[in-house]
Symmetry: C2
Subunit: 333 residues, 2 copies
């Protein structure tokens, strides 16, 4: 059950492999007559070009890698869809990797991907992402960072205005009359989370308000856990701001479990919206980011980088949108 090679096709068509190669890739002059014969042979034999051999020769695999913390998070799911669509449009395949925020996993994947000679990498850095970033750079692998960025490193990034988005949320809540806030955040060190905290806090700078910041994990359970700490603060904050979608959902679950009504007893807001296809009754006031577009643009940037020598690292910052819904209301008093 040997695979059909270019030589088999050549023999069948009575030419050499080079001629077949020219036909397959339209990479050189071939007489009409010969071309037809070769095409017939290709169909007869069911020839499938071997991209391994091709890649070995051309140093190009038409394969990109997407490394995220967890596809299961709808934000990343949507990013992944954008990435796959844009890659597919350009004839590229996408390898998907989940790190679960582990820098060790991240490094392991980068190494595997380097071995696979992927053409480029789309990376959502796990935590600080320094080590992975340095490795990728040392290997000279083209890369575009998505969502978060890596501090103190030159890099191409496609991200959102986390700072401004959080600031707009802070203003919204302040305008509603809130003066005592609690930010439910993930681990420190992620630039998005840090930016969101900074944006929120600085927007309220100079005003007579109190802002607590709680740090925890990045999964819903952690949101639930932090929210029980938040409502135990004295005096109890009247408005909560969670720094990502999983934390927001976890916070809401936690409040439900505690029997605390949103927004009657407390206001809950967050970063990241949920896709309309997942929500029957949109309820949460959130800062939304264009996840799908982030994925698409990251790929476009990466591909441009691939065939531009001396490409300069580029930063693309997409705008966020404040979506006001039922979960935010004036404080009860």
């Amino acid at each position: 059950m040997r695979r059909v090679t270019i030589k088999d096709v050549a023999a069948q068509a009575g030419v050499t492999d080079m001629t077949v190669s020219r036909v397959v890739n339209a990479s050189g002059p071939v007489s009409e007559k010969v071309r037809l014969r070769v095409e017939a042979a290709i169909n007869d034999l069911g020839y499938i070009p071997n991209q391994l051999a091709r890649g070995l020769r051309l140093k190009r695999t038409n394969t990109l890698a997407l490394v995220v913390s967890d596809v299961t998070n709808p934000f990343f799911t949507t990013v992944a869809r954008g990435v796959e669509d844009a890659a597919s449009d350009a004839g590229n395949l996408v390898l998907l990797c989940n790190t679960d925020e582990s820098e060790k996993e991240e490094l392991r994947y980068v190494e595997m991907l380097a071995q696979q000679r992927v053409d480029g990498m789309l990376l959502v850095p796990a935590r600080s992402g320094q080590a992975a970033h340095d490795l990728v750079n040392r290997l000279g692998m083209p890369m575009v960072v998505i969502d978060r960025h890596v501090r103190l490193r030159e890099q191409s990034v496609v991200r959102c205005d986390s700072y401004g988005g959080a600031a707009s949320m802070a203003k919204h809540l302040f305008d509603l009359g809130h003066r005592h806030f609690c930010i439910v955040a993930g681990p420190t060190g992620m630039t998005t989370s840090d930016d969101r905290i900074a944006g929120f806090v600085n927007a309220l700078d100079g005003l007579d308000v109190k802002v607590h910041v709680l740090h925890g994990g990045y999964l819903p359970e952690s949101g639930s856990e932090m929210v029980t700490r938040a409502v135990a603060l004295e005096p109890r904050p009247t408005a909560l701001f969670a720094s990502n979608n999983f934390l927001t959902i976890g916070a809401l679950q936690g409040l439900n479990a505690l029997g605390i009504k949103v927004p009657e007893e407390i206001t809950l807001t967050g970063f990241d919206d949920l896709p309309p296809s997942l929500v029957t009754a949109p309820f949460l006031t959130v800062v939304d980011q264009p996840a799908y577009q982030m994925g698409r643009q990251a790929v476009e940037l990466l591909l441009k980088q691939l065939d531009t020598p001396d490409f300069q690292p580029t930063e693309i910052v997409l705008p966020t949108e404040l979506i006001v819904r039922k979960s935010s209301a004036p404080p009860a008093d």
Copy 2:
């Protein structure tokens, strides 16, 4: 900026490439002294084995492909996570492809994946999936079909008991007192959908009930659209059963838009649960399938198939679970 090859390492360590190969793959005897020298050279030079060359020689790429209709559907998102985890555990990478239920796209991907010489394929067939299945078979590519299956073809499948799951739902609704049902289904031809309809209908066979079946697309909008048709039926059905998660959500959105209260005015149920991390207040009565496990087991089956000559097509049918929640209640009357 040439890449370091095995020969560079060999030269640096004062041995031949074969010896380096033996060290890298632990594939033959190497004296302690030489091994240390080679390892030092590998580190010095930052050698990264080229999997293209390796794959070309070994005819093995350690890469699997997952072809689904849309990762954005939480069912497939979860399957994808299971696939990636299991593949990663075995040192494999996963290529992700979205077909959007297009058989043309499906074929295009299968062809690209064959060119990449992936070791095997995990396929959720688009619609009937016949053409893709035949192509994969003709190419002799190992494959495991997930979720749906391809009619009249021998194949390895990991799927759920759609028939039994739907039957248990029918019984649940009948026991609540419902006698007039409407099934909100996707396009015909998908085995899951067809099985769910059959399971539901047959479970009520011989009983004095009425069951309407509506067919449409597979996205939420279609669920909304069908539900407006459903509630216009005379007499209006008292219980709805949607054949997948997107249709269920769409149906609920549609009912909300029409101002029809669930479950007070109508009972709404569906197939597929939503991950707990996405839902704050679980509400829908559903038949749940173990999506993550399906992904994992599919990979395990595929890997077993890879290194078992004459592997016999195997079918794994996982049980479903009826989860009764607030959206189902006795008919109003």
